[in-house]
């Protein structure tokens, strides 16, 4: 479609240009050499200035800008990478510290438990010893008491029997004879009481 229009219009323009050729003596203004030198001169001047200014001033600046941006971006990427690595190592350190401290805490707990157990055991042993001592002391006392008991009973028996005899008979009785009798009794009865 566009191609067709293009061709048609070029055809028309060709007609018009023919007309122009007919109408004007110069025809295509492009082929009129009147201003050729002027155009060449101004083209050389403007393009020369353009080239010099662009190549000496502007293009190096743009290229410099692009380079610095590129390097800056690269630097930033590097810095970011470095920081990421840093943070990773720090994270690792942190995790290590945490695991270490966990282990330490466990150790401390275990030690404390062991210590407590030891203390408890030691105290129990001491207490056990004390209790044993007390028990043995008490047993000794009981034994001494048990041994001394018959003699005391004998003396009491002698006294009471002498008192009784005095009151019953009204006469002094020899203590030694009474004690001999009491001894004899107590020996016979003591065997019965104590199972000797």
């Amino acid at each position: 479609m566009i191609k067709k229009i293009y061709f048609q219009s070029t055809f028309f323009s060709f007609l018009f240009s023919l007309e122009a050729f007919a109408a004007e003596s110069g025809g295509m203004p492009q082929l009129n050499p009147e201003f050729w030198v002027s155009q060449i001169f101004w083209l050389t001047l403007t393009f020369g200035i353009l080239y010099i200014v662009l190549s000496k001033l502007i293009l190096p600046k743009i290229s410099n800008n692009l380079e610095t941006r590129k390097s800056q971006i690269l630097e930033n990427i590097e810095a970011a990478e470095k920081q990421r690595e840093d943070s990773e190592t720090k994270l690792k350190e942190y995790e290590e510290i945490i695991s270490k401290s966990k282990l330490e805490a466990k150790n401390i707990f275990n030690q404390a438990r062991e210590k407590a157990l030891k203390d408890i055991n030691a105290k129990r042993e001491v207490l056990d010893k004390q209790i044993d001592e007390e028990i043995s002391k008490a047993e000794k006392e009981i034994n001494t008491l048990r041994k001394s008991a018959p003699e005391k009973i004998n003396t009491i028996a002698i006294e009471t029997s002498s008192d009784l005899i005095q009151k019953l008979i009204g006469a002094e009785v020899n203590n030694s004879s009474i004690s001999a009798i009491v001894d004899d009794f107590s020996k016979r009865n003591g065997d019965k009481y104590y199972g000797n």
């Binding site: 219009s9 240009s17 295509m28 002027s38 001169f41 101004w42 083209l43 293009l59 743009i62 800008n65």
Partner: protein
């Protein structure tokens, strides 16, 4: 007069006649638009390169995108050896592009629609490329006209054709740009004339064509600048890296 689509290409003197010897170098409308294009390029790229912020503003982005665009175009077609000629090709591309684009504004003058302007540019490129080729390769540059792998019988013919094609480079380069610009502008003028002559009743159709053509011509304006620059790169590539 206004109906004649060729009057838009008329060159006329602005101000007094300036003569250097026998030559007339008067300031004309063509000179005016060359200066306007040059100033526009310089202003835009000066603003675009003034400060270097990490996050470029619009005009800086424009300048840097054009820079990388042309830089990529050169390195793709002519390789790394063409780096010293970057500034020239950049100026060339921008000059042609801005002249073409300023020509798209109504009542302006299109500098590149004149064969003398495009021919001077093309001739300069042709001579420059030839000189570079001879400096880089000496007489070995003439091997450009002898393609490898051609039967000996055909060689004289091929060499003649190659030489003709080489010599026609400036002509094809200049005529391509000039003809494209002239044809496009003439066509737009013709359709504009149709709008007037067909009036309020029938003028809508050529008007819509005219709108569409304006878009097309803007595309052509860019494309021809690009083609001009890329052909320069290709010629430069021939001179820098002799492939034959």
């Amino acid at each position: 007069m206004a109906a004649n689509p060729m009057t838009q290409f008329n060159v006329y003197r602005i101000g007094p006649e300036i003569k250097v010897g026998a030559f007339d170098i008067s300031f004309t409308n063509a000179s005016l638009f060359m200066i306007i294009s040059t100033l526009a390029i310089l202003i835009i790229f000066n603003l675009g390169s003034k400060k270097n912020s990490l996050l470029p503003n619009k005009i800086q982005l424009l300048a840097e995108l054009s820079y990388t665009f042309v830089s990529k175009m050169i390195s793709d077609t002519a390789g790394l050896k063409a780096k010293p000629y970057f500034a020239f090709i950049f100026s060339l591309f921008m000059f042609v592009l801005f002249c073409n684009m300023f020509g798209m504004i109504p009542y302006t003058f299109t500098v590149t629609s004149h064969i003398i302007v495009t021919f001077v540019l093309a001739a300069f490129i042709f001579i420059g490329v030839t000189v570079i080729g001879f400096i880089k390769h000496g007489f070995g540059y003439l091997k450009l006209f002898v393609p490898s792998g051609v039967p000996a019988v055909l060689l004289p013919l091929i060499v003649v054709i190659e030489i003709i094609s080489y010599l026609s480079r400036p002509v094809s380069l200049s005529v391509r740009l000039f003809a494209n610009m002239m044809a496009g502008h003439t066509m737009m003028k013709v359709f504009g004339g149709f709008v007037i002559s067909l009036g309020i009743v029938g003028g809508w159709l050529p008007l819509s064509f005219s709108v569409a053509l304006t878009g097309l011509e803007i595309l052509v304006a860019f494309l021809q600048a690009y083609v001009f620059a890329i052909l320069t790169c290709i010629y430069l590539n021939d001179a820098l890296n002799l492939h034959h």
